[in-house]
Amino acid sequence: MPDKKEDIRIGVFLCHCGSNIAGYLNMEELEEFSKKLPHVTFVQRNLYSCSEGGINEIKKGIKEQNLNRVVVASCTPRTHEPLFRSSCGEAGLNPYLFEMVNIRDQCSWVHMQEKEDGTTKAKDLIRMGVAKAALLEPQEPIMSEVQIRALVIGGGIAGMTATLAFANRGYEVVLVEKEEALGGMLNHLSKLGPTMTDASALAEEKVRAVTGHSKITVFTKAKVTLVQGFIGKYKVDIETESGNKNIDIGVIVVATGGRAFVPEGLYGYDGKRVITQLELEVLLKNGLASAIKNVVMIQCVGSRNEERPYCSRICCQTAVKNAMLIREQNPDAKVSILYRDMQMYGVENEEMFRDSKVKRVRYINYDPANPPEVEPDNVRVYHALLGRDMDLAADLVVLSTPIVAQDDANVVSQLLRVPIDENGFFMEGHVKLKPLDFATSGIFLCGSARFPANIREAVAQGLGAASRASIPLAKGSVVVEPIISVLANEDACRGCGLCVALCPYGALEIQNTEKGRKVHVIDVACKGCGVCAATCYQHALSINSFTDKQIEAQVEAFLN
């Protein structure tokens, strides 16, 4: 609460926005109205409050009229609140003693035909803004230092790429891999499409670069067992062969990859005559037996069905590439691919698809309602264009199974307090705009841990995740807006943890204090969304600049 003795002096600046507001609302009336509101000591209309002239008027008002709260009624806080806040700051007023009222986007623009009603609504909005402004309290931005060290979990191609990117920028990196060797899925593959690069050679090259870099510490046969803290200040426990390590970390990249689904019970899978694409990779790596003359591949085995509705993105390109490799190793082998949709998106994939047709790989579309049948010597499939069943001789049947989430994805998810989606893949902060960030600050993701990715995509995402994660490292500190959750009433908190479970950003934790279990807000992690304060049935939590008192005052002002 503001000091009761403090004389609240509110200045209201009404912006015409050229004619965007003044053309549709009665500004004289709004001016007269604003003058009569409680604590308002100064009212001014400006053609453009955001122009240099308008800003100077606000600063002048603060200084000459001794204003200690400023309300600007104008366009939208989305674009202009930072400008007005910083202008208040420049005039010596705490920037958080500023309140913006939206009388353009939410008033004049939507009530262009209703000047009188629009003006009445603007009055309501201004009255509410002023009521809240009277209760505003000064806030200070929150700053926290960042440990200049990154942790990458997972040493496949995405993780190694991210690790090298950090190191190339001069940052220390810790890379944790659960297997004995780095390389991930690359270690199991023969050649990579569409360039037919040797997977082992690429893995070796990357592993050499990673292990030889002075900024990189690698732990293989290791796992992360505990992560405490928040962006910039994580304490991470790693279980390694040489004992447990506790390392201070600034940012974390999740690059734990995925694994190939094993199609037990599907299409007569036996690992010998009926195998997966991953098993075929091994055969191709060692050289395919020359006796193999007839190969049939079946796409979407275990994916795009009720249990696993997603398309695993990369299996079609894998099949096409492997079909070409079979034709290369056994030139007289016949290869047929039975598919639902050939997912050869983009430039390179479609080109490889065309090439494979030239190289006489055969494609037959099948309907999932009438799937192919694997028989002892052949595969039977209904050929829609011929309108009849076809029997394809098959001494090798290859099932294209999806990449599925790692078995321990949920363990990592719990350790880091980041979400996984319904398919078990890690869930990014925003599907379109933040594909490599988690909603939680300081933790990033890349590669098949996010969703099945080919080599090009895994590399790009590894670089990208490192880029995103490098921002706090480069700045050396995190500064956040102080409009965050605070435990306003510690006594009221019962430590029930409901808010902790609901916080989308991992910004709350329960601590044992002298007064018992109490929630603690990790201020740099909080984004001020308000979920916790709205949920807390004890009203123990409150959001700065959106306190219950302030909002009640607004509601009362509206009902007045």
């Binding site: 965007n20 122009s51 997603y310 998106y345 983009g346 309907d367 705009l433």
Partner: protein, 452 residues
């Protein structure tokens, strides 16, 4: 956009072109032409008063020519920077005619007709090319008759029709119907004008035009020159009224488009044009069909494609949801031809590959999922910047270095590299930023350089 516009570390040079690049990774000299807007950027507040008053109407490129804008304009309402620009090809003042209304209207005094292009020299460590792509011109495909059938539109045009801030306010008004409505408006304007003239004459002669005209036609007043003119005017008036009434009758039956066809791979996966797959079009067709259905629940959509490539995270699920909840039918087959049937309804002829039949189906509107074409001018830009292109004119990279061009220190992201959707573009932008940062911000490397 807002974040870019507001970030203290970003200097935004919009409406500018790179003219020359010299130097090498870590030390490039870039010459940029800052094209004049004829508007002082630091004074313009983006209020739009000038555009309201500007008398010159120009087709709006942002709305794919489906709406119009003025000769002084901001590219679109939320554009950053919000500064307005005068279109020098259409501005009356800049073309030697008397005008200058915008300058008189602008209270910020931002208009400056004498402002010239400026050349800016930049010294940078690394360069990222993110020049985007162009929409393939489907007029090049004769059998789809894009230029002949008004209700065959491109996906991006349809996008504008779907937009609440677009030219139809989000209603699925068909282009052929919009043309009739526009014609009605033009004729009504004409009628109002001639009615005004007739009103004056009626007042002068104190007689309604219709009554007078009857007499005139019966042979009266044949020697009266003034009345002769009146008769001509009235005849002309009637000549407009009749077709106007006809058109109005026609327009009364207009409804929004409810039967939609989406045709995939228009210009992509086509040896005549672009053999590659454009990657994102299957999803935007599904999305547009779903939004159209949200706007008008009676909408049904057929999506015609060889493969429906819903390969991103959550895409296949989205596709299935579209089929279950938004009346979308996925038809496996390539459309052979589009013709025009009654009521300007396009008719789509295709082979249904599941039923082995050639079929024809009538729709209210057809939406073409056009290919992602390399952007016009990419060859010149590549030459200026000094990078190689692939055989399709995308900027060349390799799968192990997906954002590195053929020149060190110059990187690429987004559809300038190859067709990709939003999440992939966003991810790739971060990748390019990473590679650029490795070169541009390397205290240790610089130290090494200094030592060497």
């Amino acid at each position: 956009m807002l974040d870019v516009g507001r970030h203290p570390n970003i200097e935004l040079l919009a409406y500018s072109e790179v003219e020359n690049v010299e130097g090498e990774a870590g030390d490039f000299k870039v010459t940029v032409r800052r094209k004049t807007r004829y508007v002082e950027e630091d004074k313009c507040t983006g209020c739009g008063a000038c555009a309201e008053k500007c008398p010159t109407v120009v087709p709006d490129a942002f709305n794919e020519g489906l709406g119009d804008r003025r000769a002084i304009y901001s590219y679109f309402a939320q554009g950053i920077p919000s500064t307005h620009t005068i279109d020098p090809d259409h501005c009356r003042q800049l073309n030697g005619k008397k005008c200058g209304i915008c300058a008189k209207t602008c209270q910020a005094e931002a208009i400056n007709f004498d402002k010239e292009d400026r050349i800016v020299e930049l010294n940078v460590g690394a360069i990222i090319v993110a020049a985007g792509y162009d929409v393939f011109d489907p007029g090049r495909i004769p059998e789809y008759r894009y230029n002949e059938i008004p209700n065959v539109v491109t996906a991006i045009e349809f996008e504008r029709l779907l937009s609440a801030s677009g030219p139809t306010g989000g209603h699925m008004d068909r282009p052929s119907d919009r043309a009739v409505v526009a014609e009605i408006e033009a004729l009504e304007k004409k009628v109002r004008k001639s009615q005004k003239a007739l009103d004056k004459l009626e007042e002068k002669f104190n007689e309604p035009s219709a009554a007078f005209y009857k007499k005139f036609q019966a042979g009266q007043y044949q020697d009266d020159e003034d009345r002769q003119k009146w008769a001509d005017k009235y005849a002309a008036h009637l000549a407009v009224i009749e077709p106007l009434e006809e058109l109005k009758k026609k327009a009364a039956g207009f409804t929004v488009a409810k039967r939609l066809a989406f045709i995939q791979c228009v210009g992509s996966r086509d040896f005549r044009f672009y053999p590659f797959c454009s990657g994102y079009c299957c999803m935007h067709s599904i999305k547009e069909a779903m939004i159209a259905h949200e706007h008008e629940p009676e909408t049904t959509s057929s999506i015609f494609g060889m493969d429906i490539r819903a390969v991103g995270k959550g895409f296949e699920e989205y596709k299935i949801r579209g089929g279950n909840n938004s009346n979308i039918t996925y038809v496996r087959g390539r459309v052979a031809e589009i013709t025009e049937g009654p009521n300007n309804n396009p008719i789509v002829t295709y082979e249904d590959t599941r039923e082995r039949k050639v079929k024809s189906q009538e729709f209210d509107m057809v939406v073409l999922a056009t290919a992602c074409a390399p952007i016009k001018g990419i060859a010149a830009l590549a030459k200026t910047v000094g990078v190689e292109l692939d055989k399709y004119n995308f900027i060349k990279t390799s799968s192990l270095s997906p954002v590195d061009t053929t020149t060190p220190g110059i990187f690429v992201c987004g559809c300038a590299e190859s067709p990709m959707d939003v999440p992939e573009s966003v991810a790739q932008a971060s990748s390019a930023a990473e590679r650029a940062a490795e070169i541009a911000f390397q205290p240790e490397l610089e130290k090494e350089k200094a030592v060497a």
